[in-house]
């Protein structure tokens, strides 16, 4: 049973005061102060003057040409930075002078880890190139991270340089290809001769990554270079027929997803001591070494797309 409280009484209760305080009313005006506070002037002119003064002060401080203190500070700062660099180099040289000799076989680096990679690498991974076997099978987690570094770098470049839904004129301003001579005969002829071998060589490097020097990364970079040359000779409208932003998105997503999923499978089976069940094939054959072959192709696709995308973004800011 709650009884009704009169308006007067209610105004004296704590609840009302709390509510009033929450509503932003100052309940102590006139009760606490000895005399009413002088109204705080928020003159537009005064605040503008404040801003102006601040700005002038800042300009005075950072007018480096005419501010000797700032100049001296900058000089001292640079001097210290330089001394720090010298100090760093000296420390590093000291460290190096105490390290084991380069090229000798009995450094601590040449231990059981490298031994197993070399002696059993062929049987355990199926890759003739031990380096490929190492980065894509023994230490695959690093490489998984590495390809995502490339991906995330592409995304930051997209954030910075992609231009969406802008006016045609403005877009053309950033597209510097418009200022170049078009259809250069020499360039086009050279490109016609060179691009197919470059791309084929890139594909070869990717596919034979487990058999010889090379692999997804270098092959992808070579293909990317070929694409860049093609684009330079024939212009964007030719390349856009087969390579657009959408193609890149789909390609890189499917390659990275394939990479992540296959590694997920092999990590999961490895950690739970299950058989992976992927045949390694005969070492030396092109279809061998299990997942490494697939992963090389994935990495190659991602890298080729990424390199080309970097270039296009730098040139034009959009496909």
């Amino acid at each position: 049973m709650s009884k009704k409280v009169s308006e007067e009484k209610y105004k004296k209760t704590l609840t009302y005061r709390l509510k009033q305080w929450l509503d932003g009313e100052d309940l102590f005006t006139g009760t606490v102060e000895m005399k009413p506070q002088e109204p705080y002037k928020v003159d537009q002119a005064v605040s503008e003057q404040r801003h102006e003064e601040k700005k002038r002060l800042l300009e005075q401080i950072y007018d480096i040409e005419h501010n000797p203190e700032m100049r001296i500070f900058n000089k001292i700062y640079r001097l210290f930075a330089f001394l720090f660099c010298i100090f760093l180099v000296l420390m590093l040289l000291t460290a190096v002078s105490n390290l084991p000799t380069v090229g000798s076989a009995d450094r601590p680096v040449n231990n059981e880890v490298a031994k197993r990679y070399i002696e059993n690498g062929l049987q355990e991974t199926g890759a003739v190139n031990i380096v490929t076997g190492m980065i894509l099978d023994y230490r695959a987690f690093d490489t998984l991270g590495e390809s995502h570094v490339l991906f995330v770098a592409t995304c930051t470049v997209l954030i910075l340089l992609r231009e969406d839904k802008k006016k045609k004129a403005e877009q053309n301003q950033n597209n510097d290809r418009l200022y170049e001579p078009k259809n250069d005969v020499i360039l086009q002829t050279v490109a016609k001769i060179l691009v197919p071998p470059i791309v084929i060589f890139g594909i070869y490097v990717i596919l034979c990554g487990h058999l010889g020097p090379g692999g997804g990364f270098s092959g992808g970079a070579i293909i990317g270079a070929g694409l860049i040359l093609y684009q330079n000779a024939f212009g964007f409208h030719k390349t856009e027929r087969f390579f657009t932003a959408k193609t890149y998105k789909v390609l890189s997503f499917s390659a990275l997803a394939c990479y992540a999923l296959s590694k997920c499978y092999s990590f999961y089976t490895g950690a739970n001591h299950l058989e992976s069940g992927i045949p390694l094939g005969t070492p030396g054959a092109i279809l061998s070494s299990g997942l490494i072959f697939v992963l090389n192709i994935c990495v190659g696709i991602v890298v080729a797309g990424t390199m080309y995308t970097f270039y296009v973004m730098f040139r034009k800011g959009g496909y």
Partner: protein, 90 residues
């Protein structure tokens, strides 16, 4: 072999120092490109052909191209600022 290595390392140092001291940006980029090429030869001397291929394709190839494109964009901007645009050779 040893001598060759020493010469190449000397070149590396010269390139690195002249990059920092050169006045024109285009020059420093070109010197950096040759730095990468020397590096890829050193990788071969160090018996790492994988690295040599990658460095040649990436360091001397793609990275330098990106540097050139950047420089070109910047110069295009300078040109459109001045609105003169007489010499077109890059």
């Amino acid at each position: 072999m040893q001598v060759f290595m020493k010469i190449l390392l000397g070149f590396l140092l010269v390139c690195a120092i002249s990059v920092s001291l050169s006045k024109k940006l285009l020059n420093s980029i070109l010197i950096f490109m040759s730095y990468s090429l020397i590096m890829s030869i050193i990788w071969i001397l160090l018996e790492s052909p994988d690295l040599a291929i990658t460095e040649a394709a990436v360091g001397a190839g793609i990275t330098s191209v990106l540097f050139f494109v950047t420089l070109k964009k910047i110069q295009a901007m300078i040109k459109s600022e001045n609105e003169e645009g007489e010499d077109k050779d890059e």
